[in-house]
């Protein structure tokens, strides 16, 4: 498989925008869909579009089979201990909100503490703020240094016997720095504090083993991993999920319903209220297969060349400031945020758009982190490492 072959798998990438071949660098927001994902969705919508778990007719049985086999595929992909630990949601944000509510209602009271980091996007800040407001808990923040690395050495002093959960991104969507989540989990577990890992970016750039990480919760989105939009996963250790109250009520999350009281379904249905995203969730299967196929050595080498090219280009020009500076060769993924002296990010993004290059500009859904770096909004580009897919003028240079 070569780079042109990969590009050809994405229907959206063959288009021109403003008369220029599209170069899509906005993968941190959402990736494009490969043909195999589009096909899967199309087949389900046309063929087995029926509600799952409920009826005995053929279409419902087929739809249930597709949906539940996706749970097995995800379980294997992230190496969870059991399929009951895989909850389908609409995305990372929904997964984190689920934990903030259900874990919060069950375990967090007035005066307790939640710790997040300065490198989080809003989805891993606001649900915890809301929990703290509801339950009278306190939100504490683990800082990052000037290069964008977490000050993990400060974690021990932040943790107290009132800390009920630590929420941390595996990789920040702005900085692209791999956070030492395994080490963080170890530190937190030493005092019995559970950890939620926001894997929205991490699951895309690295293979994930939740048992090796030993995290208590792991949240990610399907749509950043090439699957359909509106798909997400919450992994939670059974011991926690079983003790947590449900998030939403209704649909198949019940065992029995009486006006005198309701009992809830066992895991995982307990957390999947209402009609699920039945036609989209199964697109995680081809999406995962596609992601695995990119772990090919030749593609990884190509990705490394793109990384080096961009890294050199963004660090050799004194007007360009890169955010999230690596310390070693393995601690940054191909996710680059930068600002340019004397040029407004909006102007640059508009001009790049007219050149056919899609980048993100602005606050990156991580305002506190932007404030940390002087409130200067950035430009953002994710070219590769399994994903992106360069073409046109850059590619020529890259292959020189």
């Amino acid at each position: 498989m070569d780079i042109d072959g990969i590009r050809a798998m994405f229907p959206a990438l063959s288009q021109s925008v403003h008369g220029k071949p599209l170069v899509y660098f906005d993968n941190a927001a959402t990736s494009q869909r490969p043909e195999c994902v589009v096909e899967k969705w199309d087949t389900l919508v046309r063929g087995s579009n029926a509600n799952i778990h409920r009826a005995v007719h053929k279409l419902a049985v087929d739809a249930t089979e597709e949906y539940e086999s996706t749970r097995d595929a995800v379980k294997e992909y992230i190496n969870a201990a059991s399929r009951e630990e895989i909850i389908f949601t609409s995305g990372t944000t929904a997964s984190i909100n689920l934990v903030a509510f259900s874990y919060g209602e069950s375990f967090v009271s007035e005066g307790d503490e939640i710790i997040v980091t300065e490198a989080e996007h809003h989805s891993n800040i606001v649900p915890w703020q809301m929990l703290c407001q509801r339950n009278g808990a306190v939100l504490k923040v683990l800082g990052v240094d000037d290069d964008g690395h977490l000050k993990t050495e400060d974690l021990k002093s932040l943790l107290t016997d009132r800390t009920k959960l630590v929420a941390v991104a595996q990789i920040s969507n702005v900085l692209g720095i791999k956070n030492p989540v395994k080490e963080i989990v170890k530190i937190c577990h030493s005092i019995g504090c559970p950890v939620l890992v926001d894997g929205a970016q991490g699951v895309v750039h690295d293979s994930v083993d939740v048992r090796d990480l030993d995290c208590d919760f792991f949240a990610f989105s399907g749509h950043k991993l090439y699957a359909a939009t509106g798909t997400g996963v919450l992994y939670g250790k059974k011991e926690w999920l079983e003790k947590m109250v449900p998030y939403q009520g209704g649909g198949e999350m019940i065992a029995t319903v009486k006006f005198s009281g309701t009992t809830y379904a066992p895991l995982p249905e307990k957390f999947e209220a209402g009609t699920q995203n039945i036609n989209s969730i199964p697109t995680l299967i081809p999406a995962i297969s596609f992601t695995k196929s990119l772990q090919d050595k030749k593609i990884q080498e190509y990705g490394k060349r793109v990384f080096d090219f961009l890294y050199d280009a963004l660090t050799s020009n004194p007007r360009v400031h890169l955010y999230g500076v690596p310390r070693g060769t393995e601690d940054k993924v191909s996710l680059f945020s930068f600002s340019v002296d004397g040029a407004h990010h909006e102007d640059l993004a508009l001009i790049l758009d007219k050149l056919g290059v899609a980048v993100r500009s602005g606050q990156m859904c991580a305002e506190p982190l932007m404030d940390r770096f002087g409130g200067r909004p950035l430009l953002h580009t994710i070219p590769w490492k399994r994903r992106s897919i360069l073409s046109s003028p850059l590619k020529g240079q890259l292959e020189c």
Binding site: L350, L355, S361
Partner: protein, 138 residues
């Protein structure tokens, strides 16, 4: 001074000379460069137009029954857009500005190509100009 309709037509004609968006941006950037300087002390929070990714300050005054605008932005394309709007609407009566539909913006394709609402706030700029005009209508 040319009429409002003539001013709008002039912008449409200018834009029609360029096929490429990058050329249109250059045209806008040049427009921005021609803006009268905007006093630093007037770059206050209440003069900022809400809803723009870049910062846009807009101030107005009425002289001899005519509405005059001045503006600035920290982004050069946005500065060109506000300059274009001021060029068309400054120096007219508040009634004329408030009663206009600003439809010429659609004819030059500016909205589609510049306005993922939060990105540049073209709509916010128009709404602010309209509101300032409405405030000064008799």
């Amino acid at each position: 001074m040319i009429s409002l309709e003539e001013a709008k037509q002039a912008v449409i004609d200018d834009f029609s000379m360029y096929d490429e968006w990058l050329d249109k941006y250059e045209y806008l950037i040049d427009l921005g460069k021609n803006l009268d300087s905007y006093p630093e002390e007037e770059k206050t929070e209440d003069k900022l137009i809400k809803g723009c990714q870049s910062r846009v300050w807009l101030n107005s005054k009425v002289e001899d029954g005519k509405l005059f605008f001045k503006a600035d932005s920290d982004a050069i394309i946005t500065k060109g857009i506000i300059s274009l709007l001021i060029g068309v609407y400054s120096g007219r009566t508040p009634e004329e500005v408030a009663g206009d539909d600003f439809g010429f913006i659609n004819e030059i394709g500016l909205k589609e190509n510049l306005s993922p609402t939060r990105a540049n706030g073209l709509v916010s700029m128009i709404e602010t100009i309209k509101a300032l005009a409405a405030e000064n209508c008799n």
